[in-house]
């Protein structure tokens, strides 16, 4: 005998009599918005003006219509829609309201949860089972590393490149640190809590003490799209600059390139151009768009060099590091591209670890996978410590 399934709160409300403004008021006061019940999520929007013609939830979850229509609850000013939300999911969205000819898109005013990125903020809903990683929150026990701003003059890029260095707590000149070079470093620091994550994971011995170089791109759509100049900057200018000034291992095994989206393309293409230089790659939601035939890829002109590179790599893949970590959200349009890259990368003999999450193309997704990635590329001394 199966247990009776509790009916959704919105359905109970629909049957309420009288179904008036007071009932809606009471309902909204008693429930968070959006309302997650098991594997279902009810989106809600209330607008007391009578001019609303349509309301949609706008999201970028692959496999669902881009715009999910809300229905008006008969006789009220409450709009609603129910969406399946599998366990562990994290979904960013906005509401779109049309009044006559005028359409407006904004964050859900009743949802306090926001996700931030360089292009703005979104509302975010967490499904049952999603866990906000505590290792990404400030831990007063973890000794903080230091962020140091520096500039690396670059002939390759024809500009002075700003780099934010992370030096671990207890940084010593007599040590030898691995180095992590992070594309879109400013965004990783601002939107993916990269410093906090490094502080915590190093403190917990899960990640090796390391020096990280957070890069700040100029025009990232150019520099990160398989650019020779960028690869020359990273390998021929930045790396020697860092190795001259800091106690780094200076060995291939102690160098990792990391990036998300176009940054992942830059990481792979830099390692591809300098194949004996890097020991590890950490690639998150790489924009590895390719074509199997023809030239139509749907990504626009910015993707043209990316597609040429990815096609070239897929045609003649080769090992460019010892270890590669790849992650991608299953709700991203890039999921198929990333899944397709895994056997290509593995087939070269590189050790590949691939992790998927029920998430989208977002900085919080990339933050949430940092533990998996960093412990894979630079594992800490945990196995040596027995307190």
């Amino acid at each position: 005998m199966t247990a009776p399934t509790r009916r959704l709160a919105i359905n109970r409300l629909r049957e309420r009599r009288p179904l008036d403004a007071a009932a809606v008021e009471d309902f909204l006061a008693r429930h968070p918005v959006p309302l997650v019940e098991g594997a279902r999520c009810t989106f809600l929007y209330r607008d007391s003006t009578s001019s609303v013609d349509e309301v949609h939830v706008v999201h970028r979850v692959l496999g669902l219509p881009d715009r999910l229509p809300l229905r008006r609850l008969r006789g009220t000013d409450l709009w609603w829609a129910v969406l399946e939300l599998p366990e562990g999911s994290r979904v960013e969205y906005q509401l779109e309201v049309r009044r006559g000819e005028h359409t407006e898109r904004f964050n859900d005013p009743r949802n306090p949860h926001r996700s931030h990125s360089p292009v703005g903020s979104s509302s975010v809903v967490f499904a049952t089972g999603y866990v906000d990683p505590e290792w990404a929150q400030h831990d007063p026990e973890a000794r903080p590393g230091e962020l140091v701003e520096t500039t690396v003059p670059s002939r390759a890029l024809r500009r002075d490149a700003r780099v934010t260095l992370y030096l671990p707590a207890r940084y010593r000149r007599t040590a030898a640190y691995p180095v992590l070079i992070v594309h879109d470093g400013g965004d990783y620091l601002q939107y993916a809590a990269a410093k906090t994550v490094l502080d915590n994971l190093i403190h917990r011995l899960e990640v090796a003490e390391l020096v990280a170089a957070f890069l700040h791109p100029g025009d990232r759509l150019v520099e990160y799209a398989d650019s020779t100049a960028h690869a020359r900057f990273v390998t021929g200018e930045l790396l020697p600059h860092l190795e001259r000034r800091h106690p780094l291992t200076g060995q291939r095994g102690g160098r990792c390139l990391m990036g998300a989206s176009f940054g992942a393309v830059a990481a792979l293409s830099t390692a591809y151009r300098h194949r004996d230089t890097y020991g590890a790659l950490l690639l998150q939601s790489g924009s590895f768009v390719f074509t199997d035939i023809g030239t139509e890829h749907g990504g626009g002109p910015a993707f043209d060099p990316v597609v040429r590179f990815t096609n070239r790599y897929r045609a003649r893949p080769r090992a460019v590091a010892d270890r590669v970590f790849v992650s991608c959200g299953v709700y991203e349009p890039l999921i198929v591209r990333n899944r397709s890259m895994v056997p290509v990368l593995s087939g070269t003999g590189m050790r590949v670890r691939y992790v998927e999450s029920r998430d989208g193309h977002s900085w919080e997704n990339w933050r949430d996978r940092l533990r998996d990635g960093l412990t894979w590329v630079f594992p800490g001394p945990q196995k040596l410590v027995y307190e």
Binding site: T174, A176, T249, Q251, L384, V385, Y386, E387
Partner: protein, 326 residues
């Protein structure tokens, strides 16, 4: 020499040890000097050898040695990484064989081969590490360098007349390294826990996430024992198949579980008390049996291939035990 090994000290079971105790807290690294609580628990008036601070001072004073140590450490790390990679694959193969639907006799033969392969990897790794250490010691003669010699003399002075040597837990690699760099000789009695206890064994075995790795030769004061602190947290105790494989892999050495609250007084001949818990070849925890000791007497604590060559084995201050980094 009476040796007492304890489980992890989250719930302290350490007792006062009498006057003249010398402590080594180098496994705590930068927290080495936070030893007030330890001093009180041991009865007060202990002397901390401060081996980690001495090591950092040596590196500062002798940049040439510091650079050489870093390179040597990188070599050892690479050896460990490549060995771990091989162990991972060999264990994966053993698991696949275990799960295969072949005839029991065929499967047993293949499993025996898989175990032999693992034992060979362990032995070769131990020998390679010993060789790397010996090469480093021969090339750089750390014991003869001023900075090391000065600290060695001071450590020897602090150890002279000490009644008990107390070794705490922490980073077993760092601990083993500084014990060897500063040639720490055990006095009459030794009390050690977690990483400190592991450093006393002949062969330090690391274990986490279900995988065990040989790390390096230890001080050899506890022959025929592999110590497994934090077993509940680190070992698959609910999986007798994997545990049994672990015990058989390191046999004839006995795998002794050291969990919170455990106190084991090891007899001069390696005898264990009846309440000690060993991992049996069937993967079940059991008390020591007389046959365990008889086996050690007959076969020696380790198979010959597991041991570094006699010429490579560190012996005294004149023949530096090592100068590998942690």
């Amino acid at each position: 020499m009476p040796i007492t090994v304890l489980g992890p000290q989250r719930r302290p079971t350490v007792r006062p040890v009498g006057p003249g105790a010398v402590t080594v807290t180098a496994g705590w690294q930068e927290r080495e000097s936070d030893d007030a609580e330890l001093d009180r628990a041991l009865g007060g008036s202990t002397v901390n050898l401060r081996l980690y601070a001495r090591w950092l001072a040596v590196l500062d004073a002798d940049p040439e040695l510091a650079t050489a140590e870093l390179d040597h450490r990188a070599v050892l790390d690479e050896l460990q990484e490549l060995y771990a990679l091989q162990v991972e694959q060999a264990e994966r193969a053993a698991d696949a064989i275990r799960r295969s639907s072949t005839r029991p006799r065929t499967r047993a033969a293949a499993l025996a081969d898989a175990q032999s392969a693992l034992q060979l990897l362990d032995a070769r790794h131990l020998a390679r590490v010993a060789q790397a250490r010996a090469d480093f010691a021969a090339a750089w003669r750390p014991a003869e360098r001023d900075a090391v010699a000065w600290h060695r003399a001071e450590v020897a002075g602090q150890l002279a007349g000490a009644g008990t040597l107390v070794l705490t837990g922490g980073h077993v690699g760092v601990l083993l390294h500084v014990l060897q760099v500063f040639d720490v000789r055990a006095p009459e009695t030794v009390l050690a826990w977690s990483a400190g206890a592991m450093a006393l064994t002949e062969r330090v075995v690391l274990f986490s996430a279900g995988q065990a790795e040989t790390y390096a030769a230890g001080l050899g004061l506890l022959p025929g024992l592999v110590l497994l602190p934090h077993a509940r947290r680190r070992l698959p105790l609910e999986d007798p198949v994997r545990l049994g494989a672990l015990a058989r892999r390191f046999a004839p050495a006995r795998c002794l579980v050291l969990d919170d609250g455990v106190r084991v007084e090891v007899g001069p001949g390696g005898e264990l008390p009846a309440d000690a818990r060993l991992i049996g070849p069937d993967g079940k925890l059991r008390p020591p049996a007389p046959a365990d000791l008889a086996q050690i007497d007959a076969e020696g604590p380790l198979e010959a291939a597991d041991q570094p060559r006699a010429a490579d084995r560190p012996r005294s201050a004149d023949q530096p035990r090592s100068a590998e980094g942690p």
